[in-house]
Amino acid sequence: MSEKANKTKKYDTVGYYPGCALEGSGNGYDVSTRAVAKELGLRLKDVQNWNCCGAMEVKNVDPKLQTYLSARVLSNAVHLDRMNVVMAPCNGCYHNLKKAEYDLKHDAQSREVVGELSRKAGHKAYEAGQAETIHALDWIKEAIGEEGLRERTKGKLAGLKVANYYGCMYVRPRHIFPEKDQGPGSESTSKPHFMDDLLAAAGAENVEFPLKTACCGGAHTLSDSDTSTRLVLNILQAAEAAGADVIATECPTCHTGLEMHQVRAEKRFGKKTSVKIMYFTQLLGLALGIGPRRLGIHTNISESMDLVIDKCLT
């Protein structure tokens, strides 16, 4: 009990690492995350002068360079902001910070490269164990919890059918997420459920969706568009077949990929789907009574504003 209380307290104020996507195409995720934090009385302290974590691209040029980039973000959080928890809503950022943590703990060569680059760049090297990286799902789940959400939302999302889509980077590969698959209460890498839990607490009906952790082809969204379109179309069609009104996302790359290739599937393959795509923070925000524009819902390409009006979620 006391451990739980401590943890909740620890997540009341967290270091916030939005990353490049949330400042650009994933802006709706950023504004909705901030709006939800404000509404719930949680404090987000932006990591000072952050840099790109390396996303899905830098590792293909050099994996250890990616480790350095992610380690610099953690170093800033620890040494400039004095934070020991860093919350990253983007799956890519979250994954990379976790991977850096893992590599710095287990691989001497990674420590060497990060140490050397940090020294030359003129900042303290991040060392494994100095900070804990969490996802936006962990943050709300721990800081507010389902009980807390139930009280605050009063089942506002009742009647909304949701397919929860987690994608790849939140769960794979398993070894960089040592806290997952630890039995009851912990997140599962094969059948993740934190987003399901939070949205159910807000009254939504989660449909049986088999492609929760399927790949949307985000890494090649522009460089191998046909593959991405086919992968996305699978996800969209499976969600529709499951009866979902909306796919809830927790990653800007997945979200944008689903939206873009929904359009592309129609234009290029003549395959139309009409399921909407919204960030889980946008859905939680609506459940908390925040206006849709303040949650950036009008900026979603999948015209999800129509659904908000249809379902009287304002």
């Binding site: 490049c20 593959t227 992968l231």
Partner: protein
């Protein structure tokens, strides 16, 4: 077909005869298809070591050919020729010419990590795919793949400024691969966005042309990273016995030669 036979039985090695009698036995037609015997002599004994010398390929020697990677693979499900287990087998056997048959699709790995999740031997097949794609490019067997163009464009912008801006990466990528920006589906997306927030979007894109997002005090990190990348490249070229550099990812040109300390920052 067992995986080790895949490279032995090729359509061009199969022989059927409309009418043929051997020692009085009629062997005409499909029932008597022959496999022309083939002896492999063009092994590249260095192949496994070369892949292992590139980032991601380090654990290739651990593979015990269980097939879990291919079984779980996202791309394999839509393109059966995409077969990580088979390529790992070919590389370990030194069957370079067989590997080269599939050279144009190896870069298509989407890094979903399903293989790494499934692999019981910690081979990290996803890394092996990337190492193999690099190897193919460095050896001149393939041109730079679209995804490598994208990765370099992205990395160069990160190295130059510490941060990226999506519209900028998109523009750079389309320029590099000589594709038109005005593609029907991108136009549709831009239109949908513009329809609802003409003012904000217009301002934002105009703004991004003037001032790109950047990390403050990045110049020192940038130089350190450039030195590091160049050192790594030299090491990889040496491991692959390549004389002259084939590829040099550099930081995006910000009006100043990149490898020189820039006074602008």
């Amino acid at each position: 077909m067992p995986i080790h036979e895949k490279s032995l039985i090729r359509p061009e090695n199969l022989r059927t005869h409309e009418k043929l009698t051997i020692d009085g036995v009629d062997v005409s037609g499909h029932w008597s298809t022959f496999i022309e015997s083939r002896v492999i002599t063009d092994y590249n004994e260095a192949l496994e070591a070369e892949i292992a010398a590139l980032p991601g390929g380090e654990n290739i020697h651990r593979c015990w050919q269980c097939g879990s990677c291919t079984n779980s693979c996202t791309v394999n499900a839509i393109e059966p020729r995409f077969n990580p287990r088979y390529w790992i087998y070919l590389i370990r056997m030194g069957l370079e010419s067989e590997l080269l048959r599939d050279k144009d699709i190896i870069w298509q790995c989407v890094s979903c990590h399903k293989c790494t999740y499934a692999c019981p031997r910690d081979v990290v097949p996803e890394g092996v795919m990337k190492a193999t794609a690099h190897w193919l490019e460095m050896k001149g067997h393939t041109a730079t793949s679209p995804s490598m163009h994208f990765d370099r464009e992205f990395t160069e912008q990160v190295v130059a400024r510490g941060r990226i801006e999506d519209v900028e990466v998109l523009r750079g990528f389309f320029k590099r691969t000589r594709q038109p920006l005005m593609q029907d589906w991108l136009v549709e997306i831009a239109w949908r966005i513009a329809k609802r927030l003409p003012v904000k979007w217009g301002l934002k894109s105009a703004f991004s042309l003037l001032r790109k997002p950047r990390t403050r005090g990045w110049a020192k990190a940038r130089r350190a990273i450039e030195d590091y990348i160049h050192a790594q490249e030299e090491e990889h070229e040496k491991a692959l016995h390549i004389g002259k550099p084939q590829s040099r990812p550099r930081a995006a040109n910000e009006n100043a030669p990149v490898s020189r300390p820039s006074a602008a920052e």
